[in-house]
C-alpha cells in the first residue's frame, strides 16, 4: 500500500512538472508565433505599399498634373497635395475609415516636376519614393 502511494505521488509530481514545462514552452511558442504574425503582416503591408506607390509614381510620370493624378487615383486634393485613403484590405475608402494613406506631394524646378510619394499607416511611414518627370516649362 505504501509502495502504491509513493508511486502515485511520483506520477502526480511528474504530471505537474510536465504541465509546468508544457505551459512555459507554450507561452514561449505563442510569443514566437505572435511575433511571426506581426512580421508577416508588416511584410505584406510593405509589399502592398511598394505596389501602390509605384502605381502612383507611374501615373504621375504619365500625367504630371496633380489634379489629373487625383482624378485617376480617386484621391482628394488638399492644399496642393493629393491624398488617397485605403482601408486595412487596401480598398479605397473615406478619410474617416482610413488605415493607409497615400500622399503625393508635388514640387517643381526648371524643366522638372517632382512628386514625393509617401505611404503611411497612421503616423508611421511605411514606404516612400520620389518620382520626377521632365517638363518643357517645369510648372504644375
Amino acid at each position: 500500500m505504501k509502495k502504491s502511494n509513493s508511486r502515485s505521488a511520483l506520477f502526480l509530481g511528474e504530471i505537474v512538472l510536465a504541465l509546468l514545462i508544457f505551459s512555459l514552452s507554450s507561452a514561449v511558442c505563442v510569443g514566437l508565433l505572435f511575433r511571426a504574425y506581426h512580421i508577416s503582416e508588416a511584410s505584406s503591408e510593405l509589399n502592398q505599399s511598394i505596389f501602390y506607390a509605384q502605381n502612383a509614381a507611374e501615373v504621375f510620370k504619365a500625367q504630371p498634373d496633380i489634379e489629373k493624378v487625383a482624378a485617376i487615383l480617386g484621391g482628394e486634393i488638399q492644399s496642393g497635395k493629393c491624398y488617397v485613403y485605403y482601408d486595412k484590405n487596401w480598398v479605397q475608402t473615406k478619410e474617416q475609415r482610413t488605415v493607409f494613406t497615400l500622399l503625393i506631394s508635388p514640387s517643381a524646378e526648371a524643366y522638372t516636376t517632382y512628386a514625393k510619394i509617401n505611404i503611411s499607416k497612421g503616423a508611421a511611414a511605411v514606404f516612400e519614393l520620389v518620382a520626377a518627370v521632365y517638363q518643357e516649362d517645369g510648372v504644375l
Partner: protein, 161 residues
C-alpha cells in the same frame, strides 16, 4: 491485485517523454514560422530598396534632361560638346554626339553597386522644336555576365602513334 489495477497506465517517465516530444515539435514549428516570416520581411525590404534605387536613378536621368535643356535655351546655337560635357559634370559615363541639328546623349546611370544600370539614349532637339526630347532608350540593364569566347579545357594533348 487491487494495487496492480490502481497503478498508472503510462508508468513513470512516459508523461515526461510525451511532454518533451510535444514541446520539441511545438518549438520547432514556432521557430520555423518565425524564420519564414523574417525571410519574407527581408525579401520585402530588398524589393523596397530596389524600387527606391530605380527611382533615384530615374530622377537622375530626368535631372540630366533638365540640365541639358537649360544649357541650350531658345534663341541660342548649340554649345560646343566639350562645354556641355564639362558643365553637365555627371558622376557617370556620358557620351555626346551631334545628329540632325540636335544632340544625342548616351549614358549608363548606375542603379546600385551590383552592376545594374539605367541605360539612356536621348535626343535633344533644337530649342525651336515644340517637343525637345525624344527618348530612344530608357532601359534597365542587368549586370553583364562574362562570356568566354574560346573555352580552353585542360585536356591531354599527347597523341598515341
Amino acid at each position: 491485485m487491487n494495487e496492480k489495477n490502481n497503478s498508472p497506465h503510462f508508468g513513470v517517465g512516459g508523461i515526461t517523454l510525451l511532454t518533451v516530444l510535444l514541446v520539441l515539435s511545438l518549438t520547432m514549428f514556432a521557430v520555423l514560422t518565425l524564420s519564414s516570416a523574417q525571410a519574407d520581411m527581408r525579401l520585402s525590404e530588398k524589393n523596397a530598396r530596389a524600387v527606391q534605387e530605380y527611382y533615384i536613378a530615374d530622377t537622375k536621368a530626368v535631372s540630366l534632361q533638365a540640365q541639358a535643356a537649360a544649357l541650350w535655351p531658345s534663341g541660342q546655337v548649340l554649345p560646343p560638346l566639350d562645354y556641355m560635357q564639362n558643365t553637365l559634370n555627371m558622376n557617370y559615363d556620358l557620351a555626346l554626339s551631334t545628329r540632325d541639328n540636335g544632340l544625342m546623349f548616351f549614358c549608363d546611370i548606375p542603379i546600385n553597386n551590383k552592376g545594374q544600370t539605367l541605360q539612356l539614349a536621348l535626343y535633344l532637339a533644337p530649342p525651336e522644336n515644340p517637343v525637345r526630347w525624344r527618348i530612344e532608350q530608357w532601359q534597365f540593364v542587368p549586370p553583364l555576365v562574362e562570356i568566354w569566347d574560346e573555352p580552353v579545357l585542360p585536356v591531354w594533348q599527347e597523341i598515341f602513334n
